[in-house]
């Protein structure tokens, strides 16, 4: 191998190493990137949190009604009982609605849970606006404690005419490891 080839090789290696380091960083950057891109495109299945003031200004569309069904699920790591107070409601798009879920700590000790949710169909997610939700924060329940947890929402009247029913599914996981002190 002559000197020129050696130099060319070391240049190639340097470039390749930059690519490798860049792609390693890119792997981590994918986490925020997915959130940002999906949010911009409105395809992340996330719902928007709105203030009460904004929610109050929306005009309900009294011509339509949409059925909203409430599901609940508790992951195996958490010994709670967790159910919606009502299984489903029929709402006019734009009308602010308040429902409740009821959680009971079945154990004798204090535990921390965190709820995540999913909306079906996913296309409905971006029209589902919440002004209050127990899912925004961690929930701490003392041993045997029972809590009624509110959810205040409205459905954006701009939602596609084809959607006449939405499923909202909450799932609680044990967040003891991540409890805020």
């Amino acid at each position: 191998m002559d000197a020129e080839q050696r130099k060319a090789n070391s240049r190639t290696v340097k470039k390749a190493v930059v690519v490798v380091i860049g792609m390693f960083a890119f792997g981590f950057a994918l986490i925020p990137l997915y959130n940002v891109i999906c949010e911009k495109l409105g395809i992340n299945g996330q719902t928007e949190q709105v203030s009460k003031a904004v929610a109050a200004k929306v005009k309900p569309d009294l011509q339509r009604s949409i059925t909203v069904k409430f599901y609940s699920h508790v992951n195996s790591g958490l010994n709670w009982e967790f159910e919606p107070a009502v299984d489903q409601v029929s709402v006019h798009p734009g009308k602010l609605t308040r429902v409740e879920y009821i959680a009971t700590n079945r154990t004798g000790a204090e535990t921390v849970g965190r709820a995540t949710f999913r909306i079906s169909p996913p296309e409905a997610a971006r029209f589902f606006k919440k002004s209050e939700c127990f899912c925004f924060t961690q929930q701490k329940l003392k041993g045997g404690q029972r809590r009624r947890m509110p959810l205040v929402f409205y459905i954006d009247p701009k939602i596609s005419k084809r959607i006449d029913s939405i499923i909202l599914s909450y799932s609680f996981q044990n967040a003891a490891q991540y409890a805020k002190k």
């Binding site: 380091i21 792609m23 890119f26 792997g27 997915y34």
Partner: protein
Amino acid sequence: MSEAVAHDHHHAHPTGLKRWLFTTNHKDIGTLYLWFSFTMFIVGGIMALVIRAELFEPGMQIVKPNFFNMMTTLHGLIMVFGAIMPAFVGLANWLIPMMIGAPDMALPRMNNWSFWILPFAATLLVAPMFMGGNFMDGQGPAFGWTFYAPLSTNYQNLGFFVFAVHLLGISSIMGSINIIATILNMRAPGMTLMKMPLFVWTWLITAFLLIAVMPVLAGAVTMLLTDRYFGTSFFIAAGGGDPVLFQHVFWFFGHPEVYIMILPAFGIVSHIIPTFARKKLFGYSSMVYATASIAFLSFIVWAHHMYTVGMPKAGILFFTYATMLIAVPTGVKVFNWVATMWRGAMTFETPMLFAIAFVVLFTFGGFTGLMLSISTADFQYHDSYFVVAHFHYVLVPGALFAIIAGVYYWLPKWTGNMYSETLGKWHFWLSAISVNLTFFPMHFVGLAGMPRRYADYQLQFAEFNMMSSIGGFVFGLSQLIFLYLVIKCIRGGKKATDQVWDNPEGLEWTVPSPAPYHTFETPPAVK
């Protein structure tokens, strides 16, 4: 083409174990890679046979469920990272310098290092299998080769797995950088990019895919590691993370990875078919562009592995159409191979038989892939044995048959002796029949609803599973013929000519058989 330039050895090189430990010679390292890969192929193959033995009949017979899960997981990981990928790197080491008229790889010492990391990585990967006292209670990874969070983050020996993957990643990144540097800087004068043999082209593109996605895999396992041990929550919902995001990151690596395992196979077949059809390869430049298009598309189709996670329609449609688009460049390739054979003076030596089987059966696997790309249909096929059948068709009679074809094709050049054509034909026919017996029935049980990765199944799937198991054992045992044939060929046999075959194209056929330890120390002139 220039005449062969063969030199006697300049320096005395070490013998025995030291020769292999310290070697920087591309041929030695290629040999090491190929033997390592064959060893892993046997280890992963034994695991596959444990799986098939358990599934021979419904009910639990031989192993415990967790052991079964460990077998499916390790079988997948070992075959992907231990058998298929190192085999291609081994072939690259042996062949690329000889094909482009270079004296050796660009970075010979790094080459040694990238090989010798592999046995340690493999040891780390399987070590937890032997922890837990009783062998049947081994604690190896049992979460599937795709190690989805949060199942994998709950695994107690995750550290072993993560560092094994890191080492495998480092090894293949170093190997790829070496291949890129060799191809870009070490070509003989006159060897322009568009004159490069297709194996070199496909490997160049594969190497770029590798340095682009292996670091993403390294990132993904690092995130698992910190989630498990350091309290982060990239993928843990309880801490505010998102488990679905893991699948996105994993498949962003995973889809290019499946092309990493097939592009060099395309290259090999594009060498073998012209030789035995005695015609020039049809559509050389379209082959190059098709390979590059497939590589590009591989980056924008990852979510077709996860149609059922609950993506919105816009996402599903995008990934469906992008995936179907891959059929176009792949179709170009298949067309070119068939057009090369069209009216050729064909003979059917063992490498050609494997290459033709590759074209037919890989295309078949491609068609089931096309079925899977249809998102609405995929909701039924998802995580069923239909998927298992699909990817085994592209990987076994696809990637593996191409590797075997390549070994038969270049073995006389490596050893200087012809292999036994009779044994080769036995190997081919037993493999080709048994591979179909193993995997074809899986389509049916998959469509009928048998889910993958379970140690037991419902009674109605019994007959097809029994067929698969018989096929699996025949396939496994017939690979021993291959081992015997290769050893016999290394030890002696009819002397091979320098050309070996009937007027094959490529610089590697201009050096003597067996290829001397050092070749092309003076670069050949390429017209």
